[in-house]
């Protein structure tokens, strides 16, 4: 494997890790506030469809992005209503949201575009185009550093840089602001937050809505940057990989970055090489596909470091009287 191949694999790692990273950070906000969210997949899917559909009809990808975020936030509000206001089962609500998105996107796509549940291909301003970073062309000739800068770091769509910027931002919000402290507290011990006179319901809704925004960007990235349009079930389990990454990262922003990059790398390798041969041993492509899930089960089992979720996760808060 030569240098350029490695660069190309790493380049597609970044592309594939971006939606995972955004969805993973989305889940991080929600779960740190004590709301389990297995509906990441559905929110991404809804956002992917609405961003592609609106970008196609308006010709502006930015309006598409807003529409994607809005649709994802609507699903977030349903999840919030079910799990915060009506104190329902958060897991069941997440399952419902996944199915709702899977069904509604195809239904609406068929009604609007009549193309068997997909949107027409996006072109021009209806897509996020790659951004050339300054001097990328100029330094591309420099050995080693040149290709890394030109191929790997430059030339992604704006959403990729947004996703990576979200990591330090999330860290700062969670660990350096008052809002972040309260958010984490509400996921560990909501009664304490309530006693301090801060609204548990308000904080949890805020977290769920932030989750919706980030899932919306992730979905929009899939449909308008990574690919040119929406196809049925295009998230293909990415929401669940993000969920796996979240556990793998032990609900921490920087770990989330490394984990999603690792999972992105696995996807990139599985995409590029079908079966990998090491000596006489052939690693089938299916194994690469399921490796993130296997790793997550191993982590969950506590064989390699223990993943301890926020203590009040999954439990509705009932104010004492």
């Amino acid at each position: 494997m030569d240098f350029l191949t490695i660069i190309q694999v790493l380049d597609s790692t970044i592309r594939l890790a971006t939606p995972l990273l955004l969805a993973c950070l989305a889940g991080l906000y929600s779960e740190r506030a004590g709301i389990f969210d297995i509906g990441l997949e559905g929110k991404m899917l809804a956002a992917a469809f609405f961003s592609a559909a609106i970008a196609y009809s308006t010709g502006s990808v930015w309006i598409g992005l807003l529409a994607g975020m809005a649709s994802s936030m609507v699903l977030s509000l349903i999840h919030g209503a079910a799990s915060i206001t009506f104190r329902g089962n958060q897991l069941i609500s997440g399952v419902a949201i996944n199915f709702l998105a899977a069904g509604m996107t195809v239904l609406i796509a068929q009604d609007w575009f009549k193309q068997g549940g997909r949107t027409p291909s996006l072109e021009g301003a209806a897509r996020f185009s790659p951004i050339e970073l300054p001097y990328a062309e100029a330094v591309s000739g420099v050995p080693f550093v040149g290709p890394i800068y030109f191929e790997l770091i430059s030339g992604h769509s704006i959403l990729v840089y947004v996703a990576f910027a979200c990591v330090p931002l999330t860290w700062w919000i969670l660990f350096r602001t008052r809002f972040g402290l309260r958010l984490r507290a509400v996921g560990e011990n909501p009664a304490a937050v309530d006693t301090a006179g801060v609204s548990v319901v308000g904080l949890r809704y805020a977290a769920v809505l932030i989750c919706g925004i980030l899932c919306g960007i992730a979905g929009a990235y899939l449909a308008t940057a990574l690919q040119a349009g929406f196809v049925k079930d295009m998230t293909a389990g990415r929401g669940f990989i993000a969920l796996a990454a979240l556990i793998f990262a032990k609900w921490r922003p920087w770990y989330a970055l490394w984990t999603t990059l690792l999972f992105g790398l696995l996807q990139a390798i599985a995409l590029r090489y079908q079966n990998i041969e090491i000596g006489n041993l052939v690693i089938p492509v299916q194994f690469m596909d399921v490796l993130p899930y296997i790793l997550t089960v191993v982590i969950l089992a506590g064989f390699v470091g223990r993943a301890i979720p926020p203590r009040a996760g999954g439990e509705p808060y009932v104010k004492e009287r």
């Binding site: 199915f99 069904g103 195809v106 669940f240 969920l243 194994f287």
Partner: protein, 364 residues
């Protein structure tokens, strides 16, 4: 304090939830520009007015009974088994191996063997998440989701690399031998002059599903193990105090749940396709969640809800055939049922409780 009479809890709340889901689905159909009434008539016509329609409805219902019971029994132990899909896939593998590699003399023996194979493989796939939950405290919902994906990868590998006959293009096992053919409803109920259930896949496995409903009812309410499962589900600490081992109950409940989910494959793999194909489960494992919620985790409720979803499935296929409404409408209805009967249960329950309380005060 008893807030509501029991019939309201068991009948009224699911009914209202169902009506809400139906109302929203009707709005969706209206928004697409079709008439909900016509759509409903088409569905009834296609699923219930002909014996072949019933053949499909009951075929789907058979799947949903198994997966619904699987989710229901886990609910009784207060566990959420989302892994029905993966367990059913593995069950399919069990059925295929039993049918392909054991020379069965007659279908009666073959169905016993296949039942055993399906249950064993399904249970084995549920065993690992169960033991991890019981011993290491890893959340069973997450592990079973992961196991669904791992099962899909495993099945894909086995089909493409091992079971596929040499030279065949599509990833599927060879056809099962003739002796393992299960009698369909057509074979069983047709007379010399009238052919019933023409071309429909319902088969003898339906009665296996009915038997499973009865057995699960007996297990949960009439046996010591069932009592322990329910006790564990109501309060783990109390069950622990009474000498019920959490490890044992978690594992046993999940084994039964996984086994039931696996049994679904006897219907799809042996009864219908007569070979193992990719994605033979078609999401039935997930519909089990809606069925169990709708049926309030009671085997009889699961039976009714499974028939309802069988009707929706067959009716939805008819709609896709005759109108512009894609099959995905069923997925939306399924989502709404899960949402209203599961997650938004309190939205229906709270006002009803207030209403009954007010009525009682008036009487006093």
């Amino acid at each position: 304090m008893d807030k509501m009479p029991q019939w309201a809890d068991i009948v009224l709340i699911p009914l209202i939830s169902l009506l809400l889901a139906a109302f929203l689905s009707a709005l969706v159909i209206l928004a697409i520009g079709e008439s909900p009434v016509t759509a409903f008539n088409l569905m009834v016509d296609g699923a219930l007015m002909r014996s072949s329609g019933w053949g499909y409805t009951l075929y789907y219902a058979t799947n949903f009974m198994f997966t619904g019971l699987a989710v229901a029994i886990a609910f009784h132990a207060r566990m959420f088994n989302i892994g029905g899909e993966g367990q059913a896939m593995l069950g399919g593998l069990g059925v295929a191996l039993v049918c392909l590699y054991i020379p069965w003399p007659h279908w009666t023996f073959a169905i016993l063997g296949a039942t055993l194979g399906a249950a064993l493989f399904g249970a084995a796939w549920a065993y690992i998440p169960a033991i991890l939950q019981a011993k290491r405290g890893s959340h069973i919902v997450i592990t079973t989701i992961m196991f669904n994906f791992i099962a899909a990868g495993l099945l894909n590998y086995v089909m493409v690399n091992l079971l596929r006959p040499a030279g065949a293009m599509d990833p599927a096992s060879p056809n099962f031998p003739e002796a393992t053919h299960l009698p369909t409803f057509r074979d069983m109920f047709s007379t010399a002059d009238t052919i019933m259930f023409r071309g429909s896949p319902a088969n003898v496995t339906f009665f296996l599903a009915l038997a499973a409903c009865v057995l699960v009812w007996f297990l949960i309410w009439k046996t010591r193990l069932g009592y322990e499962i329910r006790a564990f589900g109501h309060s783990e600490s109390a069950a622990n105090y009474a000498g019920i081992s959490p490890l044992r109950i978690t594992v046993i409940a999940m084994l039964i749940s996984g086994g039931l989910a696996g049994l679904m494959s006897v219907n799809t793999t042996m009864g219908e396709a007569e070979r193992l194909v990719l994605n033979s489960t078609e999401g039935a494992g997930f519909i089990g969640i809606a069925v169990a919620l709708m049926g309030r985790s009671h085997p009889f409720g699961v039976f009714l809800a499974a028939i309802l979803f069988g009707f929706l499935y067959q009716g939805g296929a008819e709609l896709a055939l005759w109108t512009n409404i894609p099959r995905e409408l069923i997925v939306v209805i399924q989502a709404l049922v899960i949402l209203f009967t599961g997650a938004l249960d309190n939205m229906v329950r709270m006002p009803l409780e207030k209403l009954f309380l007010a009525l009682r005060w008036r009487k006093v």
